[in-house]
């Protein structure tokens, strides 16, 4: 009898200026959906999505900033045990690229050393039909690539709107995450290691649990 490969859980955090399309990228990846005027944050703890790369199945636990980054108020909890990060900027907004650089620096300081980071220039669809003379593009591919090379990041230009390159980001990250790292001792979702208690097992359904007695 053969068992399917157990999925490796990977905590992935998103960073980037407001409205660059962080949540839209996630929505595209998780639901293959796009909303023109999307709510920036989703009312979920985090989103999960599995992604199969060759023999491996990776289960992404995707944490969105929920706006806490806006005033530099991200909690340590956000970075803790994150094995992957996507730093997003909007290729039509140079300021967002500057912020991306800040976030890379912040990740190097706050997150674990072996975190896999992808730099993503989003809203590619806005520059697709551009002419030489008139372009909405304000951050060149070379600039993005340059920063990525300097800092050892994966680099993609994407469009959450047309889904261009979106899955590639997650597959790219997945293939870069070392197998060993996802089984490290500090990893978030381990199967019953560290005495972690599974609170999802409904206590009321446990045999001999407090609520079960007929008395």
């Amino acid at each position: 009898m053969s068992f399917p490969n157990p999925a490796t859980s990977v905590k992935l955090v998103l960073l980037g200026e407001a409205a660059v399309g962080k949540s839209s990228l996630v929505l595209r990846f998780v639901s293959n959906d796009f909303q023109e005027n999307k709510e920036p944050t989703i009312g979920a703890a985090f989103l999960t999505q599995k992604c199969t790369i060759g023999e491996r199945t990776i289960k992404y636990e995707i944490w969105d900033t929920a706006g806490q980054e806006r005033f530099a108020s991200l909690a340590p909890m956000y970075y803790r045990n994150a094995q992957a990060a996507i730093v997003v900027y909007d290729i039509t907004k140079p300021a967002s690229f500057i912020k991306a650089r800040h976030w890379v620096k912040e990740l190097h300081e706050q997150a674990s050393k072996d975190i896999t980071i992808a730099l993503v220039g989003n809203k590619y669809d806005l520059v697709e039909d551009d002419t030489e003379e008139e372009s909405l593009r304000k951050v060149s591919v070379e600039e993005g690539k340059g920063l990525a090379e300097e800092e050892g990041l994966l680099f993609f230009e994407t469009s959450a709107k047309t889904s261009y390159n979106v899955n590639d980001v997650f597959i790219g990250i997945g293939s870069k995450i070392p197998e060993a790292a996802s089984a490290g001792p500090n990893q978030i979702h381990q199967t019953n290691n560290d005495g972690r208690i599974d609170l999802t097992s409904d206590p009321n359904n446990r045999p001999r649990a407090a609520g079960d007695c007929a008395c």
Partner: protein
């Protein structure tokens, strides 16, 4: 109940981010913090100052109900008086306390031996809770963590071992047992004592509506629990100490029966909910970590967060609040201010409303030691509790000293080390410090004695000892006699960091003015008259070792703001659908069925008190296990 479609507009919709497009891309080097320097909102419904646990639960509860919340903190970290700090942050914090800038904290002292050269450590490896707590497996906070799904941001670990110090020794009273009965029967007790204990166990697990139990409790509610246990159940001192101070975590001899019964029951109903342990600890930190979780939940619901920010002015007429970043925000409803964040211009108002409140001191001593203290913990655990009941220490302590031990496996310190969080509610501060030091010494001695009991490796080959008989002895050559063992100077426990401080609170250690708050005894219910009653002050954390009382406090403020606590966290969360097993991203919508976990919202202590017993309102969720099946 709000459905998803009714969910109020999220932040970016309400306040689209400003986009500016300079023609040239500025040079990148040297740009530090590109975040927006000042708040860019013109109004909010509720301003909350301080990101402590209660305030964070409040922020989340309000924003999930559609209230626009602005949540700030004058520190650059989350948690306020319930923060989890690194050693560097703790150093800074101590200086702040001693400079008098942190109201309600005093006498802070930190000791880090040898500086960084010999005592090498990485500050960031430590998460030291200012107000550490443990979580009962059946408690209102845990139920809320599950309901709100904030538990998903956290990891919980079991804590099974409760040690009691008595007769100058530690006995491990409670450890991994398979059932509640075993808690009482693993000792060499006489048959009659066992019978009495079982009778008591049956009594305490009986429904509070039972007329016989009710009458006994009404008649004895105000009797001291020790007297009650002797009179009613013929229990003896060792069992009483164990029940009252270890299982019940009561803090002094004045504890009345009704309070003690609720506390003992709290332990028993928590046992066996998730396994054979009564409490859990959250990894990487306690209240500080849980506050962060609720703040994130609040942010997801639309709360705006800005740390490092304080209120510098508020005009009750125009309702305009001014902040230290220069921004102005109109506050439509209320301001909630934590005691450590009271702005100067409101200090006299705060002093006025707290004038007649009884203040309590909590003295804390926190020590980081280079030992994992595994000998005190159950196999699968990384934490333990040690209790020093009244009069068990050489200082003749009147109040219990309670200690939470957590080692590196809980993520609060590196492997091979542990943190001892001790505190007492002794109100005489000199005595309090002596009690804590004494408890520390007892624990240190016990740890070293246990380590030395195994002589192998305890001494060096070269150590030389001369016995009283005059015979030189190489320690490794044969077993040292006991007198000689005591004579050999004890190895000192290596300390990474030791910190002591005193914390003041208006929350009674027995939580009576939290569970039954009145305008006479709880600051939340006081009116700040000349601020048009727009301003509410919250409480400092209590001395309580568990999270009991926190939800009640959050609800109290919630109710004061919204008029009722009926819709407190009355939200249908979408299910994350964790077991989703499809690799096709096209179907993997997140909108599954709603969470089915039923959560009990009541608090064991709050619901198990005299009033409930007297007016016989229901106590539905404590149907105890096992009492009827036991052979007595």
């Amino acid at each position: 109940m709000m459905s998803r479609t009714e969910r109020r507009k999220s932040m970016a919709e309400r306040r689209p981010s400003v986009s500016y497009t300079p023609s040239v891309i500025p040079h990148l080097a040297g740009l530090e913090k590109p975040q927006e320097p000042s708040l860019k909102i013109d109004q909010c419904d509720v301003l909350i100052m301080g990101t402590g646990l209660v305030e964070s639960i409040l922020a989340a509860s309000l924003s999930w109900q559609g209230v626009q919340v602005l949540h700030i903190d004058n520190k650059n970290y989350y948690g306020d008086s319930s923060s989890t700090l690194t050693i560097d942050q703790l150093k800074k914090w101590c200086m702040e306390v001693n400079s008098g800038r942190l109201q309600h904290f005093q006498d802070a002292q930190i000791y880090i031996p040898g500086g960084k050269s010999t005592n090498k450590f990485n500050s960031k490896d430590y998460g030291i809770d200012l107000s550490p707590k443990v979580m009962f497996c059946k408690s209102d906070l845990l139920a809320l963590l599950i309901k709100s799904r904030v538990y998903k941001y956290l990891e919980f670990q079991s804590l099974s071992n409760f040690h009691v110090f008595e007769n100058d020794d530690f006995s491990q009273k409670i450890t991994t047992q398979t059932s509640k009965e075993d808690i009482f029967t693993d000792k060499s007790l006489s048959l009659i004592t066992k019978r009495n204990l079982m009778k008591f166990l049956k009594f305490i697990l009986t429904d509070n509506k039972d007329p016989v139990k009710k009458k006994i409790l009404v008649d004895n509610g105000k009797v001291k629990v020790q007297d009650f246990l002797v009179k009613q159940f013929n229990l003896e001192l060792p069992q009483i100490n164990e029940l009252v101070y270890s299982i019940g975590l009561c803090i002094n001899e004045g504890t009345e029966t009704r309070e003690a019964m609720a506390k003992i029951k709290r332990f028993l109903v928590s046992f066996d909910v998730y396994g054979s342990f009564p409490v859990m600890v959250s990894k990487y930190g306690g209240p500080g970590e849980i506050s962060q979780g609720f703040c994130r939940s609040a942010a997801v619901a639309g709360t705006t967060y800005k740390l490092n920010t304080s209120l510098v002015d508020y005009d009750p007429r125009s309702k305009i609040a001014k902040f230290n970043d220069g921004s102005h925000v109109k506050i439509n409803e209320k301001l909630v201010i934590s005691p450590t964040q009271v702005p100067k211009f409101l200090q006299s108002n705060y002093n006025e409303v707290t004038e007649n409140l009884k203040q309590f001191s909590i003295t804390r001593l926190i020590t980081v030691v280079r030992r994992d203290c595994k000998e005190w913990m159950a196999e699968q655990d990384s934490s333990a509790i040690v209790v020093f009941p009244p009069h068990s220490l050489p200082t003749n302590n009147e109040q219990s000293v309670q200690v939470i031990i957590q080692n590196g496996n809980t993520g609060v310190c590196p492997e091979g080390q542990s943190i001892w969080f001790s505190h007492t509610s002794e109100q005489d501060l000199n005595r309090a410090k002596q009690d804590l030091e004494s408890a520390y010494e007892k624990m240190e001695a016990s740890l070293l004695r246990e380590a030395n009991a195994d002589l192998e490796g305890a001494f060096d080959d070269q150590d030389f000892v001369l016995s009283a008989q005059g015979t030189p002895v190489f320690v490794n050559s044969f077993k040292l006699g006991e007198s000689l063992q005591n004579f050999v100077p004890k190895e000192k426990l290596e300390i990474v960091c030791k910190v002591g401080y005193v914390q003041k609170t208006y929350a009674n250690p027995d939580l009576s003015n939290i569970f039954h708050a009145t305008a006479e005894d709880n600051v939340v219910l006081k009116n700040v008259a000349d601020a048009e009653n727009d301003i509410l002050f919250s409480n400092m954390p209590s001395a309580e070792l568990s999270y009991d009382g926190n939800i009640s406090e959050a609800k109290l403020i919630y109710q004061k703001i919204t008029g009722s606590d009926e819709d407190f966290f009355d939200v249908d969360f979408e299910d994350d659908d964790d077991d989703y097993d499809n690799n096709d991203p096209h179907d993997s919508s997140n909108l599954g069925s709603s969470t089915t976990l039923k959560s009990s919202s009541s608090n064991a202590l709050a619901s198990d008190n005299e009033d409930v017993i007297v007016d016989s309102s229901d106590d539905d969720d404590h149907n105890p296990f096992g009492a009827d099946e036991m052979e007595l």
